[in-house]
Amino acid sequence: MDLGLDRDELDKCVQCALCLPHCPTFRVTGEDARSPRGRIGLMRAVQYHDAPLSDQVVESFDTCVQCRGCEPACPSGVRFGRLIEQTRETLVGAGHRPPAKLRFALAALDHHRALLAGSTALAVAQRAHLVPSGLGLPESLPLRRPTLEPSGGDVHLFTGCVMDAWQRDVHLAAKQVLEAMGVGVAPTGAAAPCCGALHQHAGMADKFRGMAAATVAAFDDDQPILVDSAGCGAAMKEYGNLLGTPAAAAFSARVFDIDEWIALRVDDLPHATPLEISVAVQDPCHLRHVQKVHESVRTVLRPFVRELVELDDDGLCCGAGGAFSIVQPELAGLIRDRKTESIVRADADLVASANPGCSLHLQQAGHEVAHPIQLVARALSGVGT
């Protein structure tokens, strides 16, 4: 079967195996079929040699977290993200659809009001003990959300879908920090309801393209677009390549992770007494391996906490992977166990993570997690720890 993979990209891999230790699913299973090299071997077998799309072959592709940890490790420069995205897209087109519960959830993401209302309804139901556990939902969905009033038009603050419903307090913190720097902030809200990253990961490429085009069209000025979700920021920086239009390229060029943008203007931040805490920095994969701006989290955070502690797992994925923890809960749990061990060894007071999916996933394992920007906001407010 033709997976539609670019032949030169597929042939670049020389099977050297240097990607294996950077692959979370290989780390926890020890199986070649759960490694980037193995997945490439199977892609070649299917595309070049008409190997059957057996359950095990499809599962090998389905179990990729798409963390892209293999890419920086690859001396041959294989763009594995592209290979696995294209493979997923072809499989979805051929009828291997994502699980029903994921499709149902994804369908709601670009309907902003309905999503917020639905989330609130779920929060009420949760408190009445009507929501079964095991759906991958946070333990305590917010009943109320702070309002995000615009304070100017210097920058857009992209608020997104699930994050706006569940973690709007992060957006509020981002807005407060930017305002303390003298920056006027325009939260996007319903104008740009969802970036489509989760759809892209699920192989729903057409849907992703549509959402990307809608998001690009929603911003008709030239102001920077700041994103406090590493996964969303990575996807939005890809729009230019994905859509291939000058408008999309110009759009992607003005997308910044919030930490990345502030790190370039760190002198504009007011001074504040550092929080009396030690913080372990967890690098979201899409900040570290895709956007490659994870150092900026440290630049931004360092002046505002007593101590930054590095994890010792070489940036290995935590297993959240967007919707991965919902569709592959067992693997996601095993991968998180490794991260937990590293967090325990770091022995810090809390964990900073610049991605909503990672923080939810880690919180569900009992870790205290905050977005780095929340810690900066906390220090600036002078409330202490």
Binding site: Q15, G30, E31, A33, G41, H49, D55, Q56, S76
Partner: protein, 492 residues
């Protein structure tokens, strides 16, 4: 992909009771630890090399010595050979199965069992990754010395099987010097302990015989490794030369001056360009050759050694750069250690040799290698452990081009012949596997090979552990042509 054709012909399906051997393995280990589907078998049929042999049978993932024992006993009862597999990062096809053996993957036996810092010994399972072990030890100021380029992925079991080396083995010795004891499952399912922690274990050094056995003598299930203290000070120098001769002469002069650098590596211009594209470490693209020299020890001694290396280098016209900090040093090493993979930026395939030649003949051999590849119209990149004369010429090519693989194979043969002619050996550290098996008679007499076969038989009288590797016909206990029949030769 001949392997796939063979799997299809045999109707490779998911684990079932059709194959009694598979059913027995599932009963002993549990279905989760026995994978008999086409995907698992296809991927276990190759390593990191271009060599294919037979096809993997069921792939087992034991996590204890007892489970490895069960695998071997069941395979033996069903007259199936056994091939052990670590990370699959080997370069000679040693872990690529011949015939249709049971594959025992050690990747889930990845626990560091015990670290005795005072006595500088650690007990580890064979699937522990080399670099994971050193990272784990680093808070104690210790490490495991052998550091092959595949160190981030290769396993201790694989290091034992191949007697692996690495840049820092110049001063410290290869794997055999860092393994004290090995628990081994033999072909009859018995568990034996080879070597021991005593300073002078009594009897023959069976541990020494086992290290480098390429999985043909048994399967290591626990290894006691010697731990090396991290040096107090390290200095890394990059010497660049406008001709290869001066670089090689500098290598000779450094050794002749009585210095034993921790590492002494050479790369030629083509190789420098490839790695620089990947790691951007600031390697000089215009140099004909570079040397990466590392000296370590106590701070005062390191200063003196570095100064001496600089002096010798300058005497041979070298441009010299000293790594300013650990970050720069790591970046330089990242470039060196990624060389093989970085080749893919030039061509999609590579064939890498591993011969060792006397240091004094380095220049001559390099020239002849350049001549050989020129004659075949091929591209070669040279990266090697200059300090001990261990060459790694990499022929970069595109196997999609008609007749190319044949040409590469022929050039490889000629490179081996040249190395043997000047008094070299077949392999420095990658092992023999299937790649160099048929070249063994170039180096060993019939008597030598028969004695090696008898050693194999002493450990494995029924010839079921990784048969058909290392020893060529007629010295092999296996019928190699029968094992390889379905695939023609390993080039598939």
């Amino acid at each position: 992909m001949a392997v796939l054709e063979k799997l299809r012909k045999r109707g490779a399906g998911p684990a079932g009771t059709r194959d009694r051997c598979v059913a027995d393995l599932v009963a002993a280990l549990g279905a989760e630890r026995v994978h008999n589907d086409g995907a698992a078998r296809l991927l276990a049929s190759t390593d990191a090399s271009i060599f294919e042999g037979g096809v993997a049978g069921p792939v087992c993932f034991p996590d204890s010595t007892a489970q490895v024992q069960a695998c071997v006993r069941i395979a033996s009862a069903h007259h199936r050979p056994v091939v052990a597999r670590g990370a699959g990062s080997g370069l000679t096809g040693a872990a690529a199965p011949l015939g249709e053996p049971v594959v025992v993957a050690t990747t889930r036996m990845n626990r560091i069992l015990e670290v005795d810092g005072a006595n500088r010994v650690a007990w580890v399972q064979p699937g522990v990754i080399n670099l994971d072990l050193s990272n784990h030890l680093s808070p104690m100021g210790l490490h495991f010395a052998p550091d092959p380029s595949s160190q981030p992925v290769c396993t201790i079991g694989g290091n034992v099987a191949n007697n692996s080396g690495g840049p820092h083995c110049l001063a410290l010795g290869v794997t055999s010097a860092h393994v004290l004891a090995i628990e081994v499952v033999l072909s009859d399912g018995r568990v034996v302990m080879l070597g021991g922690l005593d300073a002078e274990p009594s009897g023959y050094d069976l541990r020494g015989a086992f290290v480098g056995g390429e999985g043909m003598l048994g399967i290591a299930t626990r290894v006691a490794v010697r731990l090396t203290p991290n040096p107090a000070a390290v200095r890394t120098l990059l010497l660049s030369f406008s001709d290869v001769e001066s670089a090689a002469a500098t290598v000779g002069a450094i050794i002749a001056a009585g210095l034993v650098p921790a590492a002494l590596e050479m790369m030629d211009q083509q190789c420098v360009e490839a790695v620089e594209d990947f790691c951007h470490a600031g390697y000089p693209r215009d140099a004909a050759a570079v040397l990466l020299v590392e000296v370590d020890g106590m701070p005062g001694g390191v200063e003196a050694q570095a100064a001496k290396v600089e002096e010798i280098g300058r005497g041979h016209g070298a441009g010299i750069r000293v790594a300013a900090d650990e970050q720069e040093r790591q970046l330089l090493w990242k470039g060196r250690k990624s060389a093989f993979g970085a080749i893919a930026r030039i061509k999609p395939d590579y064939y890498l040799h591993d011969t060792v030649v006397p240091r004094g003949r380095l220049v001559e051999v390099l020239q002849r290698i350049y001549e050989i590849v020129d004659r075949h119209g091929l591209l070669v990149l040279n990266v090697f452990h200059a300090g001990d004369g261990n060459l790694h010429p990499i022929i970069a090519y595109d196997s999609r081009e008609e007749g190319m693989s044949e040409k590469v194979r022929e050039a490889g043969r000629e490179i081996i012949s040249v190395s043997m002619e000047v008094g070299g050996v077949l392999s420095g550290e990658h092992g023999i596997g299937v790649e160099k098996r048929d070249f063994m008679p170039l180096m060993f007499s019939n008597t030598d090979l028969d004695h090696q076969a008898r050693l194999k038989s002493a450990f494995d009288p029924v010839c079921m552990m990784n048969p058909g590797k290392v020893l060529p016909s007629p010295h092999s206990c296996a019928d190699i042509s029968e094992l390889s029949r379905a695939s023609g030769d390993v080039w598939g």
